[in-house]
Symmetry: C2
Subunit: 390 residues, 2 copies
C-alpha cells in the first residue's frame, strides 16, 4: 500500500474519507489513541486490535529521550517494535518540550489551570529549543531538522513539523511572532523531509495563530500553500468549549479541502461531534485512556441517566453491581466483567483494572467514530449525536 | 462435571493424573498460578487461557478483607466474577495472617531473611486468630469455621483447612504443639465443610510437622485417616533446597496414594522436578509472575548459556536486542515482542511490560508442566529435566 486520501462523501454535517498508509487504511472521521512512550498504557496491541482500533500515535519527545530514535530504528521502527503494525503518527516533540518546559503549557494551551512541574526548557531561539531530559538531566537541542530526523528513525507513517506551542495567556503580538517562527520552522521541517523522502512517510503542517482570526488566516494560507500532505489544527484554541468551537470554525472555513485535517489534542465526545461538523477527519487525545486509569468508564447517555460522559467505577455504589459497564457494549471487558469486580480491582490497585477499563473506553471511542461514519453516510448525524452526547 | 481424581500412570519418577472439578479438568502434574486478590497481576483471564493455564488460586485472607466473601458471592463467586471460569483453589487465610502477623513468616517458613512488615496478628489461641486489617485497621477473628464459611462464599472448587503457619526458627516442642492445634483446627474445618457440603467444593487437609520426621509422620497419619479430598504438604520445609528435598521425601513416603497431593508455595524449576519425582501432583508459587514484574523472564538453559533459570530484561545488554525472550517459545509475547522493546517498557515503567513478561512466564511454566507430563508418559523425565534445568 502507498499513501492516499480520498473523500467519499462531503456534506455540511462533515465528511467521510479513507486515509491509506503503507501500514493500512484509516476510515475517517477517526480517533487516534496515544501510545505516548511507544506503548498503550495497560493495553497490548492484540487488545488494541480487538477493540477495533485503526491508528495510534507516539510522542517524539519521550522517545528521543528513551530509548532514542536510533534504538527504535534498530528494533525495526515503531510499528514493528510495538507489535502494532498498523497506521501510526508521531508528533514533533514540540508540544511536550514547551509544555514540560514552561511547566504549564499543556494546561494553558487548553485554557486550564497551571501546574507545578519543574521547568526543563532552557532556551528557545530561531535555531530551535534547548531543554533538559526529565530522565537523566542530559541537555538536548531540538531543531526542526532534528525532529524530522528522529521521526524518520521512529518510522511512523504520518509525521508532524516542529512548532512552538504558544501558551494561552500570551497576547496577539507574541502569538504572531511565535506563529511566524513556527512557519519558518515548518519550512525547515519540510525541506529536511523532502531531502530524504523515500515514500514511507508523509508530513503534516500545523496551523497556528491562537484565538486571533487574522493570524489563523495567515497560518491557514501558509499551510495551504506549501507541500504538506496533511494539515493539523494546533495552537491555543481558547479558554472554553465555546471559544474552541469558534476558533476551529473560522479556521476550518479557510483550510483547503483536499487534505486530511487533524485536530490536535481534542477528544471529548461533544467536541468530536462539533469537530466532525466542521470537517475534521482525525482527532487525538489522552482522555479516554487516562480517564480509564482513574476508574472512569465512558458510557452512552442512555446508560447513565443522561448526565455525564462517564461513570466513576471507584464509587462505592458499584461495590455489589454485577452488571457490565454497558449492557449493550461489545467490548472484551463488558463480555464478562461486572462493575463490582472492576470496583474491587480499582480499590486493590490491581493492574488489570486499568486494562479492563481502558479496553472498554478504546472500544467505546472506536464505536463512536464508527457510528459517526454511519450517520454521515445516512445523513443522520443529529440523531447520532443525541444517542452519544449528553 | 463432578469431582474426580484419577491416576493414569504411576512410576518411581512421578505420576500422571487428571483432577476433575465442576469447572474443568486439570492434567497433573500441574502448576497453580496465584491470583492473590482475585486477579492475576497484569494478566487478563483471556490472556491466561491463551497461555494454556489450567488452574489458578486466590487468597482468602486478602479477599475476606476486600471485597469480602459476601460481596464475591453476590458477584457470582470467584470463577464468574474473575472471568476465569476454570478450576480454582483458595487457601485458608492462615498463611497470610501468620506471615503478615509475625512480620516475617513468609520468609521464615522458607528459611529466608526477615522483613520489617508491621505486625497485624493480635492474638492466637485455640479458638482462632485475631488480627487487624492492613487496609482499614478493622479487627477480624478468623476461626477454622469462619475460614470455611468465607471460602464457601468465594466458591472455589478446592478449598483448604485453616492451619497455624509455624515459623522456621521454632523448636520441636513448639512445632508439635502448633501441629496438634492445626489438627484440631482441621477437624473443625472438616466438620464445618461436611455440615454444608453440597458437592460444589472439596476440602484439602494440610500436613504439618516442620522438619521433624516423627511430627511429619504423626501429621501424615492424621491427614491420611480423615476424610479430606486432597492433601497439601505445608509448614516449614527447612532452611535450604537440600533440606526441603529431604522433608518432602520422607513426608511423601507416608502419604496415601489415592488422593491429589499439593506442595504449598514451591515453584522453582528444579524444585518442581524434585517434587514430581516424589509424587507431587500440583504446585503453586508467586515466583513466575512476581519475577515477571521485576523484569525477570524464565528461559530454558539452552537459551541462557545454561546459567540461571531466568534473564533480567532490565539489563542494558538487551537495549538493542531485536530477538524475542526465547526464539522457540510459542507464547503471545515471543510472537512479536523483542527483548529490546521490553527493556524499554521496563525502563519507562509501562504497565504492559509486566503483562508481556508475565504472559511469557505463565506460558513457560505451563509448557514445563506439559513437557513433564509427556516425559512421564514416555519414561524420559531425566532427559526432560536436562532440557529445562540448569
Amino acid at each position: 500500500m502507498t499513501f492516499n486520501f480520498s473523500i467519499t462523501k462531503s456534506t455540511t454535517q462533515g465528511r467521510l474519507g479513507t486515509l491509506t498508509t503503507p501500514h493500512g487504511e484509516v476510515k475517517t472521521p477517526a480517533f487516534i489513541f496515544c501510545a505516548t512512550k511507544a506503548a498503550m498504557k495497560a493495553v497490548t496491541p492484540v487488545q488494541m486490535r480487538s477493540a477495533n482500533t485503526q491508528i495510534i500515535l507516539s510522542n517524539t519527545y519521550h522517545l528521543m529521550l528513551q530509548p532514542g530514535g536510533e534504538t527504535v530504528k534498530k528494533l525495526g521502527g515503531l510499528q514493528k517494535m510495538t507489535g502494532w503494525n498498523g497506521p501510526m503518527l508521531t508528533d514533533s516533540g514540540g508540544f511536550q518540550i514547551f509544555s514540560l518546559g514552561h511547566g504549564s503549557v499543556a494546561s494553558e494551551v487548553k485554557g486550564r489551570r497551571s501546574t507545578n512541574r519543574p521547568k526543563t526548557l532552557l532556551r528557545i531561539n530561531e535555531q530551535g529549543a534547548k531543554f533538559k531530559s526529565y530522565i537523566d538531566g542530559r541537555t538536548y537541542f531540538l531543531t526542526p531538522e532534528e525532529s524530522i530526523r528522529v521521526q524518520r528513525n521512529l518510522g511512523a507513517d504520518l509525521i508532524v513539523v516542529l512548532d512552538e506551542c504558544t501558551p494561552f495567556h500570551v497576547d496577539q503580538t507574541y502569538t504572531q511572532q511565535s506563529m511566524r517562527m513556527s512557519h519558518r520552522w515548518a519550512l525547515r521541517s519540510l525541506n529536511e523531509w523532502q531531502t530524504h523522502d523515500d515514500g514511507s512517510q508523509k508530513l503534516y503542517g500545523i496551523i497556528q495563530g491562537g484565538v486571533y482570526p487574522q493570524l489563523r488566516q495567515e497560518s491557514c494560507e501558509f499551510v495551504n500553500d506549501h507541500n504538506f500532505y496533511g494539515i493539523a489544527v494546533g495552537g491555543s484554541l481558547g479558554a472554553d468549549k465555546s471559544q474552541m468551537h469558534d476558533v476551529v470554525s473560522f479556521t476550518m472555513e479557510m483550510v483547503r479541502k483536499d487534505r486530511p485535517v487533524h485536530l490536535l489534542g481534542i477528544g471529548g465526545i461533544s467536541d468530536i461531534f462539533s469537530g466532525v461538523k466542521q470537517g475534521i477527519d482525525t482527532f487525538d487525545c489522552v482522555h479516554p485512556t487516562r480517564l480509564a486509569r482513574h476508574g472512569g468508564a465512558l458510557v452512552k447517555p442512555a446508560n447513565n441517566q443522561g448526565t455525564r460522559e462517564h461513570i466513576n467505577l471507584r464509587n462505592s455504589m458499584y461495590r455489589e453491581d454485577d452488571q457490565p459497564i454497558e449492557n449493550d457494549c461489545g467490548c472484551e471487558t463488558c463480555a464478562w466483567a461486572s462493575k463490582g469486580y472492576i470496583h474491587h480491582l480499582l480499590k486493590a490497585q490491581e493492574m488489570i483494572a486499568y486494562t479492563l477499563v481502558s479496553i472498554h473506553n478504546i472500544y467505546f471511542m472506536n464505536q463512536l467514530m464508527h457510528a459517526i461514519r454511519e450517520a454521515l453516510a445516512n445523513d443522520t448525524l443529529d440523531s447520532c449525536q443525541k444517542e452519544w452526547c449528553t
